[in-house]
């Protein structure tokens, strides 16, 4: 009996103690788990806060960026990359790509899977940013091209994305029917053979058109774009590691339209244009002189960015190629500004209209786009 009572008591003690012990363990475990969760959340929040700050995320890019467990960055590019129709989203994504590159090895993957449309100008800027990443970090962002939309694969292949970045070519793709592309070109700052390079570019552009174009106007435009980069684009930028320019061109046979695009990642036209009048100085000081107005001012012949050197003369050559054709558009995106000049000839003569626009996000340098209709 004693044994039994004892046993029962013993059992009872053991039973209560077990439950208490189990409960204590569970509470301990729950506390630890909550503590870990809270710490994890704090870590996650810290990570997210760091990401938001380091990449300067905004409403256009917040959902496109995440990190791996190893704290490396994954960027999803959006459905539509086009400066004309979707400027803020497009420029914001290129901006985070630039900032991620500055963090060196933190960028892990750049995902193209969502892209359904990319304009030639956006494709050139994208290629230049990935090219910069390759040069700064010394690696290659290897693309998983099988997951890309076929049209995007085809377009980037034809534009020379894979050649420029020395990536393996995708499998057999049927060519685009109506458009011929000049594959992306890259040029270095202060190349002693800049004149020969401009001539070669002119010839290659003529080849894709398949006939003669107004060659000296095209040479002028290209040579002044290259000179502009050499003299101004990287002039006050000690922290820019890659000092180059990129070019692409395309010709649509059905519409007989030629498009030439030139991009540099420099400090931008607005940054190199000084205020030459007191009211401009005051406007600048109070941030009331928008970038688009500065680009327009730089286009006026005789405006100088260095005392005694008349920059406007060079920028005028960019206009002339667009003006020498029946229909021509010159678009200059520089930092946050856009200056556009549209030329259309009718019976009474040329009708020239200009458009200015300012954005929230910088294009990260200067993007010049000529679009002309050949006669």
């Amino acid at each position: 009996m004693i044994t039994t009572r004892h046993s029962r008591k013993s059992f009872a003690v053991t039973g209560n103690g077990g439950r208490r012990h189990w409960r204590n363990n569970w509470l301990l475990h729950r506390d630890r788990k909550n503590r870990d969760l809270r710490a994890g959340m704090r870590r996650g929040k810290r990570e997210r806060f760091w990401l938001e700050t380091a990449l300067d995320l905004n409403d256009h890019t917040r959902s496109s960026v995440r990190t791996t467990k190893e704290h490396r960055i994954i960027i999803d590019l959006p459905e539509e990359l086009d400066f004309e129709a979707n400027y803020e989203t497009t420029a914001s994504h290129f901006r985070i790509l630039r900032l991620a590159t500055n963090l060196k090895s933190r960028l892990k993957t750049l995902r193209f899977e969502k892209i359904r449309y990319i304009s030639p100008a956006a494709a050139l800027v994208l290629a230049s940013e990935v090219d910069r990443w390759n040069q700064v970090v010394g690696g290659k962002l290897r693309p998983n091209t099988e997951a890309w939309h076929e049209d995007i694969q085809r377009l980037l292949f034809e534009m020379g994305y894979f050649d420029l970045l020395h990536l393996p070519q995708p499998d057999q793709l049927s060519p685009t029917k109506n458009t011929t592309f000049l594959k992306f070109k890259r040029g270095d700052l202060h190349d002693p053979n800049a004149g020969q390079i401009a001539k070669q570019l002119r010839q290659e552009i003529e080849n894709i058109v398949g006939g003669s174009i107004k060659r000296h106007f095209l040479f002028e435009g290209l040579s002044e774009a290259i000179t502009n980069v050499s003299q101004h684009a990287y002039s006050s930028s000690k922290d820019i590691e890659v000092k180059q320019w990129w070019l692409s061109a395309s010709y649509n046979r059905d519409q007989r339209s030629l498009c030439v695009i030139f991009y540099d990642q420099g400090v931008g036209i607005p940054e190199t244009l000084p205020s030459s009048h007191l009211y401009e100085f005051i406007k600048d000081a109070f941030h009331r002189w928008p970038d688009s107005e500065k680009i327009q001012a730089a286009m006026v012949v005789g405006r100088s960015s260095n005392e005694g050197v008349e920059r406007g003369k060079g920028l005028q050559n960019l206009v002339e190629f667009a003006q020498s054709h029946r229909e021509g558009v010159l678009s200059i995106y520089s930092l946050r500004g856009l200056y556009q000049m549209l030329n259309k000839r009718n019976g009474a003569g040329p009708v020239i209209t200009t458009v200015r626009k300012d954005h929230e996000t910088s294009v990260g340098g200067t993007l010049i786009e000529w679009s002309v209709k050949l006669d």
Partner: protein, 111 residues
């Protein structure tokens, strides 16, 4: 009289303002070709045909620079310099050269 044919004597792809812009820039053409010829001869003829084209930076530095750098006045150049072209497409460059010469002002020399 001295004849300088840019496409033959200098380059068919002149480009840029300064040596940093490329080998065949406007400053070099001015200092190595134009100034010696204009100083040595009563008349210098510059043939501008047969090049790819001229950017304004090149023309302004080469020709406008003659006045800016104090080598000659625009009045002197009207007597000593002749711009020649057969190709009508290039007459626009001849006009630009004279425009840049006329607009240029000699830099003030520091004491």
């Amino acid at each position: 009289m001295k004849l300088i044919k840019i496409a033959v004597d200098y380059s068919d792809t002149p480009l840029g303002r300064y040596p940093a812009d490329g080998n065949f820039n406007g400053q070099r053409f001015r200092e190595e070709f134009l100034v010696p010829a204009l100083k040595a001869e009563d008349k210098t003829v510059v043939d501008i045909d047969d090049v790819e084209g001229y950017g304004s930076s090149f023309l302004d530095e080469a020709f406008g620079g003659l006045v800016r750098e104090g080598h000659f006045s625009s009045k002197d150049l009207k007597q000593k310099l002749q711009i020649q072209c057969q190709n009508s497409d290039y007459s626009i460059y001849a006009n630009l050269i004279w425009k840049y010469i006329n607009e240029a002002r000699a830099k003030k020399k520091s004491a």
